[in-house]
């Protein structure tokens, strides 16, 4: 009995290690294959349109992973993560144009500037925690959004958006014919982001953050500074987002103000929560699902048969964000733990590790500072 359990556990460990590797290899080969997934993908996998969509999904998955560091690991509900994504995209373009630098040195400049920028804003935002933190990050991102739209100094292109200065970018990363290369770049970025996220989560800071989320008081008693740990995670998440912003700039040959907006951060929140808070695979899955669903729903909104429906049905069906928003509300209310939590729950109560309700529990842990309200516990 026990040997068979050991064998199956060993097999699971192998599968756990091989599955991601196989997935990456498969994804890397997609541009060379002629696969069709009708209803999910707009065309065969080698076509530029499909590759672009998949690349976008991977960039968003990487961005969702960085958001997972904030929400799932450090327990920080940020409404301003888009600011860093937009920072990466816009600043890369600006640095290349204004300083006339090539792509690689520009990337280094942006990453360094981004580390300083996020440390500064993080240090201010983390003066407060919980819901006030959410509001403050929202306000900073809003300021960034206003700045981008106002376009001081004519560098961001205002509402029109900014064009990628292609003259400073290697030819291999420019143009529709080279979507493949951009696809591989996005895949590499996702793998890197996954690795970085895992590394941060397993680092000392990640462990302390976990402990802080569960019981800040105890960590303080042990003499550690929750502030510094949260700041470290905040900066790590921001820098990853900045990196993804740069990939996004290349992928879309430009940047639009939407990527700095509060709605953009909220879409990240949707991805991570639908996927399952606290799970890396959940964040990736949630992002991919979101991007594909958004694309399919946009197609649906333009479908002939939808236009012929009575207004009561036509209006909701032709608004992808209405459907996604509703889906999100349903997940929050009826699927605690999101997709990842549901998978764990379905996969078996036989396994005790992990715990099916982990996502929901994580959200509750974040409430700890609120629980000071219970009678007798709080004020001195």
């Amino acid at each position: 009995m026990s040997t068979s359990t050991d064998a199956s556990a060993g097999r699971r460990a192998w599968v756990g290690r091989l599955l991601p590797l196989g997935l990456v290899v498969l994804l890397a080969c997609l541009p060379l294959l002629d696969l069709n997934l009708p209803g999910v993908l707009p065309g065969p996998t080698y076509t530029p349109g499909t590759l672009h969509l998949l690349a976008l999904a991977m960039v968003m998955a990487a961005l969702a992973l960085s958001y997972h560091l904030l929400l799932g690991v450090a327990g920080l509900l940020s409404f301003g993560h888009a600011l860093y994504f937009g920072f990466g995209a816009y600043l890369l373009g600006i640095v290349m144009t204004e300083l006339e630098l090539a792509l690689v040195p520009s990337v280094v400049v942006v990453l360094l500037a981004g580390a300083v920028f996020s440390t500064l804003l993080g240090a201010i935002s983390l003066r407060v925690t919980g819901i006030p933190f959410a509001m403050v990050t929202l306000a900073f991102a809003q300021a960034g959004s206003v700045l981008v739209r106002r376009d001081p100094g004519r560098v961001t292109g205002g509402e029109e958006g900014m064009r990628l200065p292609t003259e400073h970018v290697p030819d291999a990363l420019v143009g529709v014919a080279d979507t493949r290369n951009l696809y591989w770049l996005a895949l590499a970025a996702l793998v890197l982001a996954f690795g970085l996220t895992t590394w941060v989560q397993r680092s000392r800071a990640g462990h302390v953050a976990e402990a802080v989320r569960e019981n800040e008081l105890r960590v303080r008693v042990l003499g550690m500074r929750p502030f510094l740990v949260k700041l470290a995670i905040f900066v790590a998440a921001s820098v990853i987002a900045i990196g993804m912003g740069m990939v996004h700039l290349l992928l879309n040959s430009g940047a639009v103000p939407h990527i700095v907006s509060a709605e953009f951060t909220i879409s990240l929140l949707l991805m991570v929560v639908i996927g399952g808070v606290g799970s890396r695979w959940g964040a990736v899955g949630g992002a991919v699902l979101y991007v594909l669903l958004n694309q399919r729903l946009t197609v649906l909104a333009q479908a002939e048969w939808v236009h012929d429906l009575p207004a009561v049905l036509r209006i909701p069906l032709s608004e992808p964000m209405f459907i996604l928003g509703t889906l999100f509300v349903l997940v929050v209310m009826f699927l605690p733990g999101g997709l990842a939590g549901t998978v764990t729950r379905l996969r078996g109560r036989r396994r005790s590790g992990g715990g099916p309700e982990e996502g929901a529990a994580r959200l509750e842990e974040m409430d700890d500072d609120e629980q000071d309200q219970t009678v007798g516990a709080a004020r001195p």
């Binding site: 569960e214 008081l217 105890r218 700890d368 219970t374 009678v375 007798g376 516990a377 709080a378 001195p380």
Partner: protein, 268 residues
């Protein structure tokens, strides 16, 4: 004689005849995912004062909060034979449970009068005569914001809020904490009078107060009830009080901290 676990309908040692008004069995409770009460059995006798004793941090306050549903809990909590454990706090209180929390918890932004008016429960008499008879000062200071009162006066407001209504049982958590000796006697006198109206479950560190008021004692250690019996017998047993409370009861002093970790009630 010691460490009697009440089970089923077996009367607790030293409890007078009659069913307990509040019967707690196998109570456990948690705060923010941490277990703060492991397994508590206790009976509150239908008359008089039952003391809930133990070192700091063993879960006395958490037990009271768990009875009220202020923290997540499981087990059996019966008031007059009816199970309360699935009810929300306000319904438990409406069934006749008065609560005087540790640290008084008056609404500091509201006036004294408003604090009392807020406590008026529907379907109950409101005994302003009793309350103002016990605490004439509250009538004089009715228009004052409760937050500007002294600690002793705030304790009066807190006691008055509970005594205003008809109660089946009063849960009183460390009413003399931080008060001057004169005020401790005052509170003790008020509780003696209150106990004539409704039975009391009293958490109290001052053993002199316990000696004066309590007929029965329940002692907790590490979130578990480990002793039930007549209060006088318990306090007379020097070895037992030393072991369970860390004090010589004859000294009448404050128990020393047992150092059993954070159990919610020492978060400050």
């Amino acid at each position: 004689m010691t460490s009697t676990q009440p089970r089923g309908d077996v009367a607790v040692d030293g409890a007078p005849a009659g069913d307990p008004v509040l019967r707690v069995r196998g109570l456990s409770a948690h705060v923010a995912g941490q277990q703060v009460v492991e397994h508590v059995d206790l009976d509150v006798a239908p008359v008089g004062v039952t003391a809930l004793l133990g070192r700091n941090g063993v879960g006395k306050t958490s037990t009271i909060k768990a009875v009220l549903g202020l923290i997540g809990r499981s087990g059996t909590v019966e008031l007059d034979g009816a199970d309360l454990v699935h009810l929300p706090t306000h319904q438990i209180v409406q069934r006749g449970v008065g609560y005087v929390p540790e640290d008084r918890e008056v609404f500091s932004g509201l006036t004294v009068t408003d604090n009392l008016r807020l406590a008026e429960r529907r379907g109950s008499r409101h005994r302003y005569d009793l309350v103002y008879d016990l605490f004439p000062e509250l009538q004089e200071r009715g228009a004052q914001a409760a937050g500007t009162l002294s600690g002793g006066q705030q304790q009066m407001v807190s006691l008055a809020r509970a005594l205003l209504n008809d109660n089946q049982v009063l849960l009183v958590d460390e009413p003399t904490k931080g008060l001057a000796p004169r005020l401790v006697q005052e509170v003790s006198r008020v509780l003696a009078r209150a106990a004539q109206v409704a039975p009391i479950l009293l958490v109290e560190q001052n053993l002199q107060v316990v000696r004066d008021l309590a007929q029965h004692a329940v002692v907790l250690t590490d979130g578990r009830s480990v002793h039930h019996g007549p209060a006088a017998d318990f306090l007379a047993d020097d070895a037992l009080t030393q072991r369970l409370l860390g004090v010589h009861a004859e000294g009448g002093g404050e128990p020393t901290d047992g150092g059993s970790g954070h159990t919610g009630e020492e978060r400050a």
